[in-house]
């Protein structure tokens, strides 16, 4: 079965050592590393089930930020004094960690951005405006996050290109029927590695191979994949792959664009200003080497260093173990939740294809009311369109509730969720 392969998509070329860890996660020990989990909310211990939205941060990440500001805060690539050297070394070491984490061929392929949204917009402005022309087609999927949809709408409007979409089936899996035909004349195929709303892990190898046959470039939105499973950008073989720090135990304000070096070399700069230049006269400028050509102005230095610490942390757990932990949680949660009366579960029923996010609707309680009610028991879930309004159209609902998991979640939190859902239903049905 092809779909069974995809959760190993990143590992085709062997597991890089940074992910090697055969052990199951010690969730008790992990939880002690996340200070926020000691917090009470409305008189109950926090049950945080919104990690697909943003993850919580472990001590080593918080400590890395603190240490930077207390000991060696300085601007990078500029100062010749001691603390500036330390800051520069730590910032570039973080890039190296990120490069290894996704198995990039070179650190020059790792560009720091604010978030994956900016990473995608960078490709839109820099690569897109130079390479997408009237009549070209851009193929997306109907499960895309607004951040991997609206940039392409605007690029299409600007260039005269056309948008097309892959549809989903009743289990929230991409419909690959006629994929080769759909890829004809496509300049760019852009899709999420894992859906933030449905949890679907998309069949990356199939999609990339088909795009290659059609001569299309491929951008993958890895916002929901890199935090949760081993990802190997060389094995995947796309052109652009973006992800976002705050969902992978890292700080806010930092994201990553990986792109093939040849592409980055050929692309014009995106933001212009200090640091991204080589030589500037009043009327002309030339550009710095990669990756700095794409990093204009003072960067999110502390945040990059914090992301490096997050990568270290995740490597310590082992990404294969992280994926397995979430697979098991989803397996359990799907089983428990399907017994709730009046529930509709979205996304694949097969936990091998289902990342750690489960969306659902209840017949008798609106998602916002549910989220508000269970917050009274300290349970944090997300209610809304999850930045996927078109997908809500497809599902025929204005909003869903979503519970999403990460390394610090336990099966008993699923039990608490299920119990709280039942009590919320009682409020509404009397």
């Amino acid at each position: 079965m092809i779909e069974k392969d995809v959760s190993n998509a990143g590992m085709a070329r062997g597991v890089p050592p940074v992910w090697a860890d055969g052990h199951a996660l010690d969730v008790g020990a992990i939880r002690r590393q996340f200070p926020i989990l000691k917090r009470e909310v409305n008189g109950h211990p926090l049950v945080y089930l919104d990690s697909a939205n943003t993850s919580q941060k472990p001590e080593p990440v918080i400590a890395a930020l603190d240490d930077y500001y207390r000991r060696y805060n300085a601007n990078i690539h500029r100062g010749v004094y001691q603390i500036a050297e330390e800051a520069t070394a730590a910032y570039e070491a973080a890039r190296q960690k990120v490069a290894r984490f996704v198995n990039a061929r070179s650190v020059r392929e790792i560009v720091f951005t604010r978030n994956v949204t900016e990473a995608i917009n960078l490709v839109r402005y820099s690569w897109g405006r130079a390479n997408v022309h009237r009549g070209d087609r851009i193929l997306l999927t109907e499960m895309e996050h607004h951040s991997n949809l609206v940039p392409w709408q605007l690029l299409a409007a600007e260039t005269g290109a056309e948008l097309d979409f892959l549809r989903i089936d009743s289990q929230g899996r991409l419909d690959l029927e006629g994929l080769d035909r759909k890829l004809e004349g496509v300049r760019l195929l852009a899709f999420a590695h894992q859906s933030n709303t449905l949890g679907t892990i998309n069949p990356v190898p199939i999609l990339v191979a088909a795009a290659r046959r059609a001569g299309a470039h491929v951008l993958i939105d890895g916002a929901q994949a890199v935090p949760h499973m081993p990802v190997d950008v060389q094995a995947i073989g796309a052109d652009f792959y973006g992800f976002t720090g705050h969902k992978m135990c890292g700080p806010t304000g930092i994201g990553v664009l990986w792109a093939r070096r040849e592409l980055l070399e050929a692309m014009p700069p995106f933001l212009a200003g200090g640091e991204m230049i080589k030589r500037v006269s009043l009327r002309n400028a030339s550009w710095n080497e990669l990756p700095w050509k794409f990093e204009a102005g003072t960067q999110a230095i502390a945040e990059a260093i914090g992301l490096g610490a997050a990568v270290d942390y995740l490597c310590g757990l082992g990404m294969a173990a992280v994926r397995e932990h979430e697979r098991a949680l989803v397996d359990y949660a799907l089983e428990r939740m399907q017994d709730v009366s009046g529930i509709t579960l979205y996304g694949p029923q097969d936990p091998d294809l289902h990342g750690g996010a489960i969306s659902f609707s209840l017949a008798n309680v609106h998602p916002h009311d549910l989220a508000t009610l269970i917050d009274q028991e300290g349970i944090a879930v997300r209610a809304g369109h999850h930045c996927t309004q078109p997908l809500m159209e497809t599902l025929g609902v204005p909003a869903t509730t979503r519970a999403s998991f990460y390394v610090y979640n336990r099966p008993d939190e699923v039990d608490q969720l299920v119990g709280a859902i039942g009590r919320a239903q009682k409020v509404f049905t009397g």
Partner: protein
């Protein structure tokens, strides 16, 4: 489960909303929505000599948005239009009588904002206070 948040009155209005339906020959029909959470409301107004002769609504969404619409229609029925253009949001919140968190404020105020737009009055812009 806290009953403060969803008092029986709110649930009652949600289950059996007052003035629910359409006015076929409405003078003003106004849609309003809350894209963030998908709450929707349509208000039908019939004017009568400077007063709101009749008001009905249709909608779908969370309990707070729908109950607040139901409560609002009771509050405004028959009142002078000029007065309603300045109808204070707080009056509706007081009537709801439950604590509304900032994230749910848009649900709670969807109906009154839709009414204001319907009457050609501006929406209260609290963000500009300094």
């Amino acid at each position: 489960m806290s009953s403060d948040l969803y008092r029986e009155q709110i649930l009652e209005h949600y289950r059996n909303p007052h003035n629910f339906g359409e006015i076929q020959d409405a003078d003003i029909t106004q849609e309003g929505d809350n894209p963030l959470c998908g709450d929707m409301i349509t208000m039908y107004l019939k004017l009568d000599d400077g007063r709101l002769g009749s008001v009905k609504f249709r909608g779908r969404g969370c309990a707070i948005s729908q109950a607040s619409a139901s409560i609002l229609t009771d509050l405004v029925m028959g009142r002078p239009v000029d007065e309603l253009k300045r109808f204070p949001t707080q009056a509706l919140l007081d009537e709801l009588g439950i604590p509304i968190s900032p994230a749910r404020m848009k649900c709670a105020t969807l109906s009154v904002n839709t009414l204001r737009v319907a009457l050609g009055a501006g929406v209260e812009d609290e963000d500009d206070a300094d």
